[in-house]
């Protein structure tokens, strides 16, 4: 009877679940409820062929959480170097190459973090997560294209399409990415997938970076500018680092659970 019921399932399903399913059926006396339930389950399996290749799928999402977490921490540290370097340089004409490298590195890491953490959060809130991902990711890509143009041309006065200079394009990309980071933070707050404290810190930090950039452009007097600059210097990198730590904690919780199971 048991083998007949298992044969109702598709061959691929039996390859994956057949052995353990037979073990479950062997542990109980099958009544009419069980038989009807199994026949319906077999029909469902024929219709959907669920669960095949699922293990690699799940591991992929754990991996995206881990990569996103590490990238967020590294990106946060690089943003700290970049923002501090920019504040020390005070908008000078000859910034250190280290400042450029740290901005490019921070942008790349932020893009990777956005992808990894969004893939994790999209499990429960796909529309909100990917909408919030699109703007900062676009900003990061635009920024990286601009940085590449600056390296290739070596001349900030060169114009690209529409008479926009690489520096202008880079600034637009940077601003879009920073503002987009606040949208990403709000979406993260909403999904509750990662720490709400960290996402709140990132949202505030992103707004402060914009305020600092506006202030540094001459819109605010010097002593007043220092307030958002210092606050942004701390809050924006700290927000990314905290999000990364939160992601790694969730990942670690899963791993600890597994170790407990195997010990």
């Amino acid at each position: 009877m048991t083998s007949l019921l298992i044969r109702c399932y598709p061959a691929r399903w039996r390859d994956r679940y057949g052995e353990e399913f037979a073990a479950v059926l062997a542990e109980r006396t099958l009544g009419p409820f069980d038989v009807a339930d199994i026949v319906l389950g077999a029909l469902d399996a024929h219709l959907h062929l669920r669960g095949l290749g699922a293990a690699s799928h799940g591991k992929g999402f754990a991996m995206s959480l881990r990569i996103g977490g590490y990238a967020a921490i590294l990106g946060g540290l690089l943003w700290l170097v970049a923002l501090a370097g920019n504040a020390i340089n005070n908008g000078g004409e000859s910034p250190s190459p280290l400042l450029g490298y740290s901005i490019v590195g921070a942008t790349v890491m932020t893009l990777v973090a956005l992808m990894g953490l969004s893939a994790f959060q999209a499990r429960s809130h796909p529309a909100l997560t990917w909408a919030a991902f699109a703007i900062p990711a676009l900003g990061a890509v635009v920024g990286l294209i601009a940085y590449a143009a600056i390296v290739v041309t070596g001349d900030s006065d060169t114009t690209l399409i529409g008479g926009v200079s690489p520096w202008m394009l880079g600034s637009i990309g940077l601003l879009t990415m920073v503002l987009g980071s606040s949208l990403f933070a709000v979406a993260t707050w909403r999904t509750r997938s990662l720490s709400r404290t960290a996402s709140g810190l990132l949202a505030v930090g992103a707004v402060l970076v914009v305020a600092a950039l506006v202030g540094a452009s001459g819109a605010l007097p010097s002593p007043v500018v220092m307030i958002p600059v210092i606050a942004a210097l701390v809050a924006f990198p700290a927000g990314w680092i905290a999000l990364g730590v939160s992601a790694l904690r969730i990942d670690r919780a899963g791993a600890t659970h597994l170790e407990g199971a195997l010990s």
Partner: protein
């Protein structure tokens, strides 16, 4: 309230029961069935169990461990734990709302 485990349709309730069952540690199929029945007083059929397990595994909410004899234990993943916590929080808020409307305090 937004009571759902994404896209699981009629398997949303069994899936929630399975996630709760796995929340205190890995279990194989029969242990999950016994645990759910003990907790809810209602039987969980083997066909329903494996249809829900396959969907949960496909979405990365649970993960299969190495089989012991013919039994294969499953464990909650980090994603699954997050989804479960969110689902239980929403249900809890809904319960509180219902009790308040009835004029009874929760707990």
């Amino acid at each position: 309230m937004n009571p759902r485990i994404p896209e699981l349709g009629r398997f949303a309730e069994p899936a929630l029961l399975i996630l709760v069952s796995l929340s205190d540690g890995p279990k194989h199929g029969y242990a999950i069935m016994a645990d759910v029945e003990a907790g809810t007083g209602r039987p969980l059929g083997p066909g329903t169990l494996y249809a829900a397990l396959a969907r949960l595994e496909e979405r990365g909410f649970i993960e299969a461990l190495a089989p012991v004899d013919r039994r294969r234990p499953y464990r909650l993943t980090a994603v699954g734990a997050t989804i479960l916590a969110e689902q239980l929080r929403e249900l809890s808020e809904f319960v509180e709302l219902g009790l308040r409307r009835l004029g009874r305090t929760p707990g």
